[in-house]
Amino acid sequence: MASVSLESVSKNFGTHTVIQGVDLEINDGEFVVFVGPSGCGKSTLLRIVAGLVAASKGAVKIGGDDVTDVPASKRGVAFVFQSYALYPHMSVARNIGFALETLGMAKDAISQKVSTVARMLKVDHLMERRPRELSGGQRQRVAIGRALVRQPEIFLFDEPLSNLDSDLRMEMRMEIAKLHDVLKTTMIYVTHDQSEAMTLADRIVVLNHGRIEQVGTPQQLYHTPDNRFVAGFIGSPRMNFLAVSPQTGANAGRIAGPGNLSMAMVASNPTGPIAEIGVRPEGLRLVSEADGRIACTLERVEDLGHEHFGYCRITEDTVWVVRLASAPSSDQIGKTVGLDFADSAVFAFAGDGKRVLLKGTPQANAEAREP
């Protein structure tokens, strides 16, 4: 087991910069998830930790030792690939035990270790099969087994569940979480799926354009995002945003926006004038136009059985999603309705996307709170 630290790590391919000055400390035994949209550099960052890609600048440390110039084979890490990358010409047993063969371990010891791991991952009945005779889920188990058998200091997962169907993904997610509980080994996990990140991670690292947007526990990222990008990326369905403008003169201290929005809102950390507000679908209530803070047209309702999502058009290109406990009456569809939300459900952002803390809400710090 080991800690990992990245010190101002950058990577460019030619003139194209993929990672820009990333600093990150990962504690021993922690489960950290790198999440971000495709092309944000999360896989490259993982490969830099593994040693499969060399950092252009900066240092990588594992367990306190500088491994920047150490080849992948000597870093003591295990890597699980999205494509599984099993050796197609070898049986399941040999796939799992192959790395041990080169360590000069006795045949008996290898087969014992392999069967222990195989039992743990429930692939012990498949030992003589070839990878092509396995289902996707079984292949991924074998790939994890191959990583497990070496008892690495660090596990690295590169979108391991992306090629599985959704049922299997859920099941494997649970198993990976269980594995971490049992092994307590440091794990770094890359995914583009924020729900995977939320359910697995001790801490999430949100990446965008090769930079870290925010690092924090799932709760921190959900409740106190640092910026508009994190607010929009974490949570499903994503947060609703609306461009607003601060009022002046007699109405100073208020903001106004489309849908007859007008509410008191004062920044407690003036990083810039409030340019946008955001409310999560679960923070909204569908009410009559008169009772709502924002007027909009209910265009469509999606019925998922246990919950419903309403799509409300505020302006020509702004549609807010609202989560409903029960289906609205069908005669409301196409009509103007109101959306109501608590003050504490509103997030405000400056023009550059930075979060603006608000006075008078629990999100603001204690000093800023006024009686």
Partner: protein
């Protein structure tokens, strides 16, 4: 699918196959069966319509001929050595070209040049370069002080087989490189990365992963080259005509058929060549298929 639909599909299939079947009958089955037929006759080339059936006499005459066995030995020596060198060299160059080295695209294109040159042209060029008096090779060697007088590469009975193999290696290694490179590029790079992270040393990665995964590609390439080499004619013939040191079975059959006008014996020799090639092909294909059944 209903029986009627199935019948219609069958009819359509036959319709599409018909042109191919006709062409094969015309260019393969007909000449082959003519050759096979003449190998049982005592016909001469000047008038093939006059003949009588002689049974297996022609076949027996061929295998009682010392020259035939010399030709068989030459052919096998040439095939085994040249294909072995081409495979090793082809594998090495393909592995090199598969790496991200600068100028890789140019190297890939350049390596195909020898293969694109007609055999006769390439052979003639090499013959001149190897000429004992005017050849550039001897010029370089004597310039370096390695030899004091030009070596008669193509005239020496002990060297000429080496020369034939050398020219063949020069000409057909690109073919090997191309097929093996295609095989290499089918292997997902993540498999090598997985092995690297797993701490597998480079030689074991090559031996236990690269080679087994390349086996189908190498197998097909070797099959093509072996069949090609077994019926080799042009290279030896252009370089040395009917010199016994490099006479292949194809040259032997041609000599009997054309030079000696013995249509019957020539056809029998051709049939022997056909059987030899078919036999080797079946063995190689069998070996490949056995591997596939074992799943490697």
């Amino acid at each position: 699918m209903s029986a009627k639909l199935a019948r219609r599909d069958h009819r359509a299939a036959w319709l599409f196959l018909l042109p191919v079947v006709a062409v094969i009958l015309l260019v393969a089955v007909w000449p082959l069966s003519r050759t096979f037929f003449f190998s049982f006759t005592d016909a001469y080339l000047d008038d093939p319509s006059v003949y009588s059936m002689v049974g297996f006499d022609n076949f027996i005459e061929v295998i009682n001929d010392h020259s035939w066995w010399v030709a068989v030995k030459n052919t096998l020596v040439f095939t085994v050595i040249s294909v072995a060198i081409e495979t090793t060299l082809g594998l090495a160059i393909a592995l090199l070209l598969n790496e991200m080295i600068p100028g890789r695209g140019l190297a890939r294109a350049a390596i195909l040049v020898p293969w694109a040159i007609p055999v006769v042209v390439a052979t003639k060029i090499w013959e001149w370069m190897l000429n004992d008096q005017f050849g550039v090779i001897n010029k370089i060697l004597s310039g370096l002080g390695v030899v004091d007088h030009g070596i008669a590469w193509t005239a020496s009975s002990s060297l000429i087989m080496g020369v034939v193999i050398f020219i063949d290696v020069w000409m057909t290694t690109p073919f090997m490189v191309l097929l093996i490179l295609a095989g290499l590029q089918l292997i997902s790079p993540e498999i090598f990365e997985a092995a690297e992270v797993d701490g597998i040393p480079a030689w074991k990665r090559f031996w236990s992963i690269t080679l087994p995964m390349l086996r189908p590609a190498i197998g097909v390439a070797v099959l093509f080259r072996v069949l090609d080499a077994l019926r080799m004619f042009d290279l030896s013939y252009v370089l040395a005509a009917s010199n016994e040191n490099v006479m292949t079975v194809s040259i032997y059959a041609r000599d009997r058929l054309i030079s000696f006008q013995e249509l019957g014996i020539g056809s029998a020799a051709s049939t022997w060549v056909f059987l030899l090639v078919a036999f080797v092909a079946i063995i190689i294909i069998g070996a490949l298929r056995l591997d596939r059944a074992a799943g490697t």
